[in-house]
């Protein structure tokens, strides 16, 4: 590869000259409404050359703020105290010009959201060359050459062609590769990766993590990895720092932290992370017996014999399309999908982004028109019904959305949001409505006083409880849960999943549980359907799909899901590499 022909970098210090980055007593505060609010306090860590240090924590733990504080990238209403030395140079309190020279040159940054971190009106190549031109004394032609070299280094297909393309022309994974090329453009001694794979699909995430690992070995730069995902930590890190509420709770080598955590919080955090394979391994059988109609379900995709009992949801040859607009042709998001869910059964629908899983969920609750095929809820086909005809049927199904912040009206109180279905369908008013709302708040374990709050006054987990309460207000037969926990922190996710299981047991509704996270689906679902590019790849019981997947796509999906255990993750990685080498189909 091109990088090996590079002249040795003279800036790089020899291996034995102490740590790359040493952080001592770092504290960050924000001034909010005339008061200093603590965001991080007494943060200590050291990164040695060639080391991968992961800072883990939930949202609000101060992990990103600490890293941004080191580089002076925080807004003006903040103050940073303590000391952070990059190879002996103090960064806290350094002049802006000095910090600017450090950023991009000595320290490379990889952001969470590659779409927003890249400028949409500049070409990918120009954005990489810009970094080179602003830090090195080279000509634009040389910069272009070097940028293409970097694209090759990050395994971007067709690097010359990609140089003149724009960010929107690339897939999410490719955009993140461009970001990485930018970050490593000047051979930084330290790479800061802030949630580098959170916005990506699991299979793409696995590839980006592989890339980071190879680059790390090849360039020998230290990596500061900021993440909430224990699986990513287990995959990449050598040392772990666990943060909570702005303070370091525990730090140590990865195997020690994962196998024998010393602090209670670390133990809780690790326990809250769903572990793919753990449920099945524990031999924990699904408590609910599937209804007779689907008891003899085979893993086949072909239509089953008509069941004596009407299933809660029955999809037959469902085709969903986004209509053509102007010159853009119609897009077929879901193509010929058939499956059914018995009463009281939870079916997990998994797939990567763009596989059409959310589209199916929306069509089931009547938010999207059905192009062809049928959607039967409790025996009534809802495809092609008018809004008026659909209205009485809306009671039977409900949906919990992915993002609780977006799915609650910001101008309505929690109580009004929860009570709206009752207001519309049962024509409940005033006191009667209040009583039902209180009962629903009890069910999702929220205090009654919350009914006068607005969504922004609640935490993410609380908002999702509200979303669940609203969905359950009419006692639906079928609940569509569209990634209800993917916007939440792991410990909050654990609570919400627990609540969800409890409510499902009590009320016995059937559930279409949509998720990209196989581990979460494993906890909840008794059967699993795998969707790939709008088609049903595989469907079967949880054990069949997760332990003995028949489709190569399912196998790849399972192999890519990171497991929060460094040793297991290492063997899984080897297995995955072998599977890929054996000629399984490549990415996108």
């Amino acid at each position: 590869m091109a990088i090996e022909t590079q002249a040795p970098d003279l800036r790089r210090a020899p291996e034995d000259t102490g740590p790359i980055l040493e952080v001592r007593g770092l504290g960050v505060d924000f001034r909010v409404d005339g008061e200093w609010v603590m965001a991080a306090r007494d943060v200590d860590f050291t990164i040695k050359p060639g080391e991968v240090l992961a800072v883990v924590g939930e949202s609000g733990s101060g992990k990103s703020v600490s890293a941004m504080g080191i580089l002076g990238l925080l807004p003006k209403n903040s103050r940073t105290v303590g000391s952070a030395t990059l190879r002996g140079t103090e960064l806290i309190g350094a002049r802006p010009a000095a910090l600017r020279a450090v950023r991009g040159n000595d320290v490379g940054l990889i952001f969470q959201e590659p779409m927003t971190a890249l400028n949409p009106v500049l070409t990918n190549g120009f954005q990489v060359s810009e970094v080179l031109l602003s830090h090195q004394n080279i000509s634009p032609a040389q910069a272009r050459e070097r940028a293409i070299e970097l694209f090759r280094l990050v395994d971007l297909p067709n690097p010359e062609g990609r140089y003149d393309s724009y960010p929107h022309q690339l897939s999410g994974g490719q955009r993140q590769r461009v970001m990485i090329a930018m970050a490593i453009a000047c051979d930084p001694v330290l790479l800061i990766a802030d949630e580098p794979t959170t916005a990506l699909d699991v299979t793409v995430q696995a590839e980006i993590l592989d890339l980071l690992r190879t680059l790390h070995h090849r360039l020998d730069s230290a990596i500061l990895l900021i993440t909430h995902d224990m699986g990513v930590v287990a995959d990449l890190a050598d040392t772990v720092v666990v943060m909570k509420d702005g303070r370091v709770v525990e730090s140590g080598p990865i195997r020690q932290v994962f196998s024998s955590p010393r602090q209670g919080y670390t133990r809780e955090l690790l326990a809250a992370v769903p572990h793919l394979g753990a449920q099945i391994a524990a031999g924990q059988l699904v408590v609910r017996e599937p209804a007779p109609g689907t008891a003899a379900v085979t893993a086949g995709l072909e239509d089953r014999a008509p069941a004596p009992v009407v299933p809660a949801l029955d999809l037959r040859n469902l085709v969903l399309e986004y209509p053509s607009r102007g010159r853009t042709p119609a897009f077929r998001a879901v193509d010929d999908v058939s499956f059914s869910i018995a009463h009281g059964e939870v079916l997990g629908l998994v797939g990567e982004s763009g596989s059409g899983k959310t589209t199916i969920g929306r069509a089931v609750v009547g938010l999207l028109p059905v192009a062809s095929g049928s959607v039967s809820i409790g025996g009534t086909d809802v495809a092609g019904l008018s809004r008026r005809e659909l209205r009485p049927l809306r009671r039977r199904s409900a949906i919990v959305f992915q993002d609780p912040a977006a799915s609650l009206n910001p101008r309505m109180t929690i109580g009004e949001s929860i009570g709206e279905p009752l207001f519309i369908h049962e024509k409940l008013r005033k006191a009667a409505l209040d009583r039902r709302v209180e009962a629903l708040l009890d069910q999702v374990q929220l205090p009654h006083a919350y009914r006068n709050r607005f969504p922004h006054e609640l935490s993410g987990g609380q908002r999702q409880r509200v979303g669940i309460a609203r969905a359950l207000s009419l006692g639906p037969d079928l609940l569509v849960a569209d990634e209800p926990t993917s916007a939440l922190d792991v410990s909050v996710q654990a609570h919400v999943l627990e609540l969800f299981q409890e409510l499902q047991r009590e009320q016995g509704f059937a559930c279409l549980f949509i998720s990209h996270d196989l581990a979460v689906v494993e906890i909840l679902a008794s059967r699993v359907a795998v969707l790939h590019r709008g088609k049903l790849a595989e469907i079967g019981t949880r054990e069949e799909v997760l332990l003995h997947p028949r489709e190569p796509y399912t196998r790849r999906l399972i192999a890519a899901a990171p497991v929060p255990d460094p040793d297991e993750q290492q063997t899984r990685r080897a297995g995955r590499a072998a599977a890929l080498a054996a000629g399984a189909d490549a990415e996108d």
Partner: protein
């Protein structure tokens, strides 16, 4: 002025921090005390808005000033058949007292014969100003109400229903924009011997000034209708009317109120421009704009003829803008710093 984009949530560090502290709350939820479950009466959003508006100091003072001006203007010289407490009529010339200078004295407090002075032919300027304020207020609010209602409904329907509804309504808006206001006013004034009463003038101005608001509201609706909470409402079977008025409209209220208050203040100025050209309020009837226009040359000799109506225009416009500011904040739940 006020920030139109204020109702988008921004994920600044402040919010992030607030979320952080709340997330820890979530963990403690399992142990929520039974005491916390004591019954709390449900508060409707109208009550919440009223409570917040009353806490807004600038808006409340604006409100008090506006109410005071309205009371003064309508009670002093009377309105229609109802007589007022002020003894003089605005149409009748009187002998000049002290060359028409204002007799109002702050200390010792006394009104005198002509508190605001007299104009060049000796009419009582207090009565004239009050009459002008009445007319200007009527026009301003008529324009504000008519223009806002039409603009909001047209913008909301176009933005929510899309398709041919949008095409028809927006082309109509474009046509309205291209018609020069003064030309139409002139034509109507000529064909109907002047626009006559302020009611017709106000309604007419409202009918031609809704276009800007319609475009703004449509834009807001276009983005809000794709939001997930609208899908959520649709999935529980809410009707289009309910979604438009209960779900989307409250989220655009900030923009609408700002536009409406601006429309009210600019209507006062627009009316004076029309009156100046002879298409608006016709003499001997009068309005604040009309007064300023007729006495603009008296600036050096009788400055009070200029100051009094000017003062009232500024006071009314400022008060309306403050109220608008307060309403916008009251409708925006994120402005509430104190947790309920």
């Amino acid at each position: 002025m006020t920030d139109l984009r204020n109702d988008l949530p921004d994920d600044g560090p402040a919010i992030e921090l607030a979320m952080g502290t709340l997330v820890t709350l979530d963990d403690d939820l399992a142990e929520v005390d039974v005491l916390a479950q004591q019954s709390v009466a449900a508060r409707s959003s109208t009550q919440t808005v009223m409570r917040r508006f009353r806490q807004h100091r600038a808006a409340m003072s604006g409100f008090v000033v506006l109410v005071a001006i309205i009371l003064l203007a309508f009670s002093s010289i009377g309105f229609g058949p109802v007589p007022g407490w002020w003894k003089l009529d605005f149409k009748i010339p009187m002998p000049l007292v002290d060359a028409g200078a204002p007799t109002l004295s702050v200390w010792p407090p006394s009104l005198g014969e002509h508190p605001f002075g007299q104009d060049n032919i000796g009419r009582d300027y207090f009565a004239l100003t009050m009459k002008g304020a009445q007319q200007s207020l009527i026009i301003a609010f008529l324009v504000g109400i008519v223009g806002t209602v039409i603009g909001t409904v047209i913008g909301a329907c176009a933005g929510y229903f899309r398709g041919w509804t949008e095409a028809v309504l927006m082309r109509l808006t474009d046509v309205m924009i291209t018609i020069p206001l003064l030309a139409v006013a002139a034509v109507i004034a000529v064909s109907s011997k002047g626009l006559g009463g302020v009611w017709i003038l106000g309604a007419f101005l409202g009918l031609v000034t809704w276009t800007g608001l319609a475009r703004i509201v449509r834009g807001e609706f276009l983005s809000l209708r794709e939001k997930e909470f609208v899908d959520a409402a649709r999935s529980v079977g809410a009707s289009s009317g309910r979604i438009i008025f209960r779900h989307i409209l409250p989220n655009t209220i900030g923009v609408i109120i700002v536009a409406a208050t601006l429309a009210i203040s600019s209507a006062i100025l627009l009316e004076s421009a029309l009156s100046f050209l002879g298409f608006g309020v016709q003499s001997p009837d009068t309005s604040l704009g009309q007064l300023i226009n007729s006495y603009r040359s008296a600036m050096t000799t009788r400055p009070w003829l200029f100051w009094w109506p000017g003062l009232f225009i500024i006071a009314i416009a400022l008060a309306v803008n403050f109220i608008g500011d307060g309403l916008r904040d009251a409708f925006d739940p994120r402005q509430d710093r104190v947790k309920a």
